[in-house]
Symmetry: D2
Subunit: 430 residues, 4 copies
Amino acid sequence: MPLNTQIQTLGARKIDSPLPYNNLEDDKQVQVFVDKDCSQEIDPQILSLEAAGPRKKLYFNPTQAKCAIVTCGGLCPGINDVIRAIVMEAHHAYHVPSIIGIPYGLEGFIHTFNHNFIELTPSKVSDIHLFGGTILGSSRGPQDAEDIVDTLERCNINILFVIGGDGTMKAAQMISNAIQNRGRKIAVIGIPKTIDNDINFIPQSFGFETAVYKATEAIECAHTEACGVPHGIGLVKLMGRESGFIAAQATLALKEVNFVLIPEAPFTLEGEGGVLQALEQRLLKRGHAVIVTAEGAGQHLLERTSETDASGNVVLGDIAVYLRRAIKNYLNSHNVRHTIKYIDPSYIIRSVPANSSDKVYCGFLGQYAVHAAMAGRTDMVVAKVQGQYVHLPFEIVTRSRRKLNIHSDLWRAVLESTGQGTLKGMLPED
Amino acid sequence: MPLNTQIQTLGARKIDSPLPYNNLEDDKQVQVFVDKDCSQEIDPQILSLEAAGPRKKLYFNPTQAKCAIVTCGGLCPGINDVIRAIVMEAHHAYHVPSIIGIPYGLEGFIHTFNHNFIELTPSKVSDIHLFGGTILGSSRGPQDAEDIVDTLERCNINILFVIGGDGTMKAAQMISNAIQNRGRKIAVIGIPKTIDNDINFIPQSFGFETAVYKATEAIECAHTEACGVPHGIGLVKLMGRESGFIAAQATLALKEVNFVLIPEAPFTLEGEGGVLQALEQRLLKRGHAVIVTAEGAGQHLLERTSETDASGNVVLGDIAVYLRRAIKNYLNSHNVRHTIKYIDPSYIIRSVPANSSDKVYCGFLGQYAVHAAMAGRTDMVVAKVQGQYVHLPFEIVTRSRRKLNIHSDLWRAVLESTGQGTLKGMLPED
Amino acid sequence: MPLNTQIQTLGARKIDSPLPYNNLEDDKQVQVFVDKDCSQEIDPQILSLEAAGPRKKLYFNPTQAKCAIVTCGGLCPGINDVIRAIVMEAHHAYHVPSIIGIPYGLEGFIHTFNHNFIELTPSKVSDIHLFGGTILGSSRGPQDAEDIVDTLERCNINILFVIGGDGTMKAAQMISNAIQNRGRKIAVIGIPKTIDNDINFIPQSFGFETAVYKATEAIECAHTEACGVPHGIGLVKLMGRESGFIAAQATLALKEVNFVLIPEAPFTLEGEGGVLQALEQRLLKRGHAVIVTAEGAGQHLLERTSETDASGNVVLGDIAVYLRRAIKNYLNSHNVRHTIKYIDPSYIIRSVPANSSDKVYCGFLGQYAVHAAMAGRTDMVVAKVQGQYVHLPFEIVTRSRRKLNIHSDLWRAVLESTGQGTLKGMLPED
Amino acid sequence: MPLNTQIQTLGARKIDSPLPYNNLEDDKQVQVFVDKDCSQEIDPQILSLEAAGPRKKLYFNPTQAKCAIVTCGGLCPGINDVIRAIVMEAHHAYHVPSIIGIPYGLEGFIHTFNHNFIELTPSKVSDIHLFGGTILGSSRGPQDAEDIVDTLERCNINILFVIGGDGTMKAAQMISNAIQNRGRKIAVIGIPKTIDNDINFIPQSFGFETAVYKATEAIECAHTEACGVPHGIGLVKLMGRESGFIAAQATLALKEVNFVLIPEAPFTLEGEGGVLQALEQRLLKRGHAVIVTAEGAGQHLLERTSETDASGNVVLGDIAVYLRRAIKNYLNSHNVRHTIKYIDPSYIIRSVPANSSDKVYCGFLGQYAVHAAMAGRTDMVVAKVQGQYVHLPFEIVTRSRRKLNIHSDLWRAVLESTGQGTLKGMLPED
């Protein structure tokens, strides 16, 4: 699959940057290797990407720029850190006079929702990184791109920063297209956000590490509960609609997980090589077991629903409920006394403040987003790929969802840690 | 209600204690005031209780004593701390040669369950306080007292420490009675455990403070989620079958809760003074709301089930499910757009390690339990009442469940913190 | 020592309280037992004290009241919680129209320091409890009471809340006296603060529990370091100028401490029964050791300095430096190879936010301080004594410093936990 | 500087691996870019390195292998995780029958020290990752390589895993050389450990992230203290003998630091562009300031000592003491009243357990170390470079210390965060 990594620009860059040093050549490129934990086949394996960073020449005169920030979709640790970093960088480094916050996601642009814009100043944002969530509020679902561009124009906004997930990046791309169709010069810069770590091409998205840590707390509790009763089973449901990254990474962080079920590995429940038989053996041998399931795992076992949520995602069947019933029936029919303790930490994982590592990461993302915008880039996101900050076209990150490659060393390590490599569907057929 | 606070003893105390100092007079009493947060009427308001502590003369020759420890019922932070303290005190202070752990609660005594006893030594327990849960395992439900005493006799156990809740203390009392009926000299000492803080006569049970802290983490997340969407409602279900202490205390610790529903305050949902109308007003005025409900709250609104669990407790209707539906219907019918984020932290609250304050508390409980047993006390629990460690007969702590007194300063402070004092059922009629 | 527990009032209480219920009789008393961990002899052992709480009749018309809050001395977890609670209670419960914060302690009252008052509103204080320290700033040392009263009068302040330590409470008493000498009607209410837990008559001051927790973290690190090298010695210095409460309590919470040195127990270093010989034996037997010393311990071994700090306290000799040198010399002369790892967590312990338990405590203190002031009490502090909130005259809490009673069960438990009961000076002569 | 990245092997690999899949080609290479935060010039910028990972063919017959693990130098979060991962991988994946722990670093090999080896089994190590430090103990300084190889031979050890810093890797190289000189077939595999993140060629060493987090806690306290007094200055000393990575990264994580002093940026104190004048201006403008200094910063200002410690490192002058005095003198002479609060968290930063992210990292390092050894690699370390696990010859990682490149984006971000870019010595071009 050839990738077009060309970054769009609004026009010639002629304004001297106020930044004193470390400015990059305008077309500075870096080379990166394609992420191996991801299942997607990308060719070539080494790509040349535009380096993120400040440029000597700017497109916008910063003292005349007006920025807007909008946050969309579900919460994720670090959103406030990104907002803060954008405001601080635009204000202190570029002396941008006005930065406004759009309330409650894309609907904040739409007149009929009747939300008020929020003036973002350094003093307003100076402590927000200590809190989870987003001070701007968020919402799900699309809004009409033309309406949004109307608002951008009416408010004389030159630069729009969009923090959101896959769907939001698609919306941002549509906004960017609408702007170009009108021949306007408004930069649209995305900062991809996902609690599931499923943004295409980005090995680790901000907030993921924090989320994994919180997930391990829940798993630890499940383990403690499982050990506390005869044949105790701790069952934990974690986020991960289509990708099992949180479940897999938390398993590696904690070491107490015996079965981890993810969407990418099509396990079976019944029969030889099925989860139920292996669980029974584990219980009889060790007296307790811990099962972690991503919310999107095992959908092949469930009846497909046709409902969709506000973001347009199909409502998933509840694998945890299904597993509980299946385990109970199986063990009862085999006369194995047991107790299942089910934990669904849900929002606890995504609404906490970022840890210090994610704070550093989010700080860089915000700064690089401002650098990109000032230099006139548009229709792109800032991202960290293998330790390097780069510019990626919207088109690349929205092309498909990132999934865990079950041929990767990551998954191999998970299989070794859990010992579940002998189950059907877990090992790649090679 | 007159209380018999007399402590039973196994016989005359003649053995010199190996403890060098601070030994109490055998019949040392302390006076305590009755707990005001509890709804129960006790008269007189000042009681004389036997002081916990080491005595100069012992009943058992410690070097010939054999102790057993059993842990029953649900998990609670600090159980391992109590186990550790008993073992360390018995071993180091009294040089007791043998302490065994009974696996998986009372069923560990019963031959047919086929569990193996656990030898408890200082090196075995030295780090267990760093983990939640119980290293001995637990189970629910009673076992035949005669069978248990058979095992105690067969194993030459002189002293039995029972860590468990209300039902377990009743079982311990029955064991004690069976021992007396046989004319045996086996001390039975209870250390009351409850995540709900509902043990009669004990203002704050061990682990409660830790549980409250974990509860505040969940509520903080609910608050963050509620703030993150237009008209967001964070709904948190906390433990508390018959008593709202965790919900009330967490509310005071966090300050972000707008409605706290507990079993003791019979709120209404509909109409003037009902929760739904007040919630609507809060949403329209402030844009978000946080509701905390104890699992046993609002049972008057639900259909009564007749199921019981393994401990014989009635299975409660699910108030959170009921509330979600009621809120959704009400707000939809009033055309108030909203989003409900529901968090059920469940086992996360009770399976964590004790915090440092509970560690100190559990350490004292374990030590005092050993002192009491060595001096020949039986049929009693050790407890902290208003900063003083005392002996209480089983009969007192099992007489009824402790409930939150809605005339107390505690509840007044909750009403002030939430502002829900104007709701029906929250304010005492005075 | 007879105690005068009589609380002063500004005058007759005639205004109806806006609080709907739970109001106490004006002269409501509670009985409390004297704290046994404290070394001071108080007679009788049961005292009758005025109960804290709202009254039906007020002295001040709340809608015309003007409050001021000042914070003095060193930091302590929970100060911001107390400030927040005072503001919230005065504003929401009593509708007080104006509350001002005095910046940087008592010097904030003095014109020549040129500090600006801070208007305290609910929105200003709503999140401050999430931060350590004091948003008002603090300073040490006295200021002229007459100057302070001049400022109170000039600004029409009716009620002054003073948060501070022993010295500050004395200063508050002098302010109160100066007010009375002028015949003014200004309430002065103290909320005692001490990181050392050494306020007379108050078994546990706010922030103490949080401080103990942070202290255990440092001790845990010292233990890890000690175990990491041959004959490793972890040495930790904790706060405690005249009282060893933090050191003692942290020892009980952690269980890894082998020697804990406090001001109240006059240990010896040299010879039989000295710390050095016992340390050597511990090292040879177990390979590592952990020593915790309160900063005020062992002053009998050091040369007395005559310097004083800004608060007028004598500058202590550095016991940790002295111990390190003494240990090194002793072990070297005995050819015991060793490594000492010294940790001085210092400000890390006192500048963190309050934990959830201290948050609840501080919330009550702030509320009760407002209730007392509104009812016209003055020259007093609010305090929790054995689970009950009461009013205490300044005179009682400033009479002397609270010290750890080495005849108490607390100290006995410490000796048992460490095994240091055989050292000279540790055991009371009985 | 050309780099020889060739990995040594003990001989032909002929044994079939028991690992079922994901085995790499024997000579599998990956390409990595040279780390830009590091000051060292390396050419070319892209290097081809041997990929870490399991191989189809092994050199050792795993069921006849005998492994040893030794940990050297100062503590670092994650050492126990690496030990655990090695033991689990060798035992469960390769069925290695015997793994021994060498006590107290390299001296554990030397007969005269009289330490006992520790048998390492899965049950022995299963919980050790929950604790900081190293269960094996450690020591500093070299031991005779021939003596060590004598012990390896005498004990029939085939594989030696060495966890330690720069000096330890040099020692491991010497052991490897001595083995080769004797013509023995013993694999020596290093896992580089450094709290300062100063191992050449490795962008982020294990434990660094955890250390940064703990450092931010201390800085947060310094900030709180600084805000709590008029013209308060919080001064924090962090680890970093020759490299300022912890100081720089913690600054980016916390945002409250105004001055960060590192060895790589030769700041001046006096005069225009000096720290003292800028500090004065900051105090007068904002009322407080936070200074973070790496322990090795500003050595150009101090008299050089000639002492060395047990590891042979020069004992540094104490920059914090020097700064305190200089600040005090300067501000006093300018009549700027101030208070300095100094925090030296020291061992608190390095002796805590690894966070969940470092746990995952350490798990991979341990696994890859075992894979490398089994395939007969020697004289090398396993390392993560830009998200890829690789083999590096000892020679590369010991060639020099990694230092912070002050031309990097990392340092630019630090200058922007602190605003100290105008100070002399901070910006590269001056």
